[in-house]
Symmetry: C2
Subunit: 215 residues, 2 copies
């Protein structure tokens, strides 16, 4: 059965970044600290950098990183994650990921701006732009996933929208052992997920705490 899955980064104090954003550093200066243990994994090196040398960590963090990429049949991301807010007037913008994005599935981009034609990329990724209700986009993505899972890839606002609406079957938090003191709060106005989902907690060699909520 198709599940809706989200993986998110959060600090000990509940911030999902993005403090300290600038033109030079669009993800914010906190982003690197928040995602360091994930970016250090062998899976990330392989799947995002195309580095098949075996470089990267292979412990608990990598087990979760590998699971992140498994069994995904379609993806939903926000306009901001795709870059529509950064390049609103460029009709040829094709996202941040080059000619062969690491999705390899249909990717539904939530957008309230003028409709754009779909873009077929190399490696199985096709970007579709949808301005309808989140429920409708999810139904379309679920059909496209054909029995595999739908991942809500981000950004944080999009992920929180799905969480608030109770649409998420599996949430994986990577809690970095750092205190940010600024950014967007993950938890504000979320439903009490522990009442509807089973909770697991595990600490990786890096000190990162992995928390999962599974319906």
């Amino acid at each position: 059965m198709t599940r809706v899955r989200i993986d998110m980064f959060v600090s000990l104090d509940g911030y999902t970044s993005m403090g300290g954003e600038s033109a030079d550093n669009p993800m914010g200066e906190d982003w690197g600290r928040l995602t360091a243990s994930y970016a250090a994994t062998r899976t990330f090196h392989e799947r995002v950098f195309g580095d098949t040398s075996g470089a990267g960590t292979s412990g608990v963090d990598d087990t979760y990183a590998a699971a992140h990429f498994e069994g995904i049949g379609a993806e939903i991301i926000g306009a901001s994650m795709f870059g529509l807010h950064t390049y609103p007037n460029d009709p040829d913008w094709k996202g941040w990921w080059g000619d062969e994005p690491p999705f390899g599935t249909p990717v539904y981009v939530l957008s309230h701006t003028a409709p754009r034609p779909s873009i077929e990329m190399q490696g199985g990724t096709t970007f579709h732009f949808r301005s309808g209700a989140v429920d409708d986009v999810l139904a379309e993505a679920s059909a496209a996933a054909a029995g595999l899972d739908v991942r809500v890839g981000g950004g944080v606002r999009t992920a929180r929208e799905f969480l608030r609406a109770g649409l998420v079957d599996h949430l994986h938090l990577m809690v970095a052992p750092i205190v940010l003191g600024r950014g967007m709060r993950l938890w504000d106005d979320l439903p009490a997920l522990d009442r509807t989902h089973k909770v697991t907690t595990e600490v990786a060699e890096s000190g990162t705490i992995h928390v999962t909520f599974t319906r």
Copy 2:
């Protein structure tokens, strides 16, 4: 060297309770869920209930619970934790803990109400009431601790006051795998402890996450 230590309970979403308070349940209905894994330990059974039968858990939670009681030479608590806000007009009020409180040390109660004489209890506990600056009370408690540590025992407001002032050398958080969605936020306006303290993370058999910050 005398260190200032704090142990605190917090939910995954960063709340230190105390939601759902009532006359029947002065700690709030969330408190039991937040403290369940600690209250289940063998150490808690022994030290707080006087139950030496060996009942209670003996894993990671119990290791931290035992550490909580080790090496303490003096304690500082807030007026609310002692009960001065609940029984402000009872000059004979001696706290919630009966004739033999589980402290066994001098306990400095921060109070802005009329001064009270010290109260000597059974088992080594003496309550002193102090209305001076926190720094001065801490200096007095440190001297009384005679080389052992000073524990700031609570409540949450008092603990956060010491944390905000940068006075805490060792903070131990017990992060219960639950989502409260209400209560007092632990993290608001705290300094970035990970810049000044070493962070450790560990998960207990109960699923509780133990996080420590040590200067």
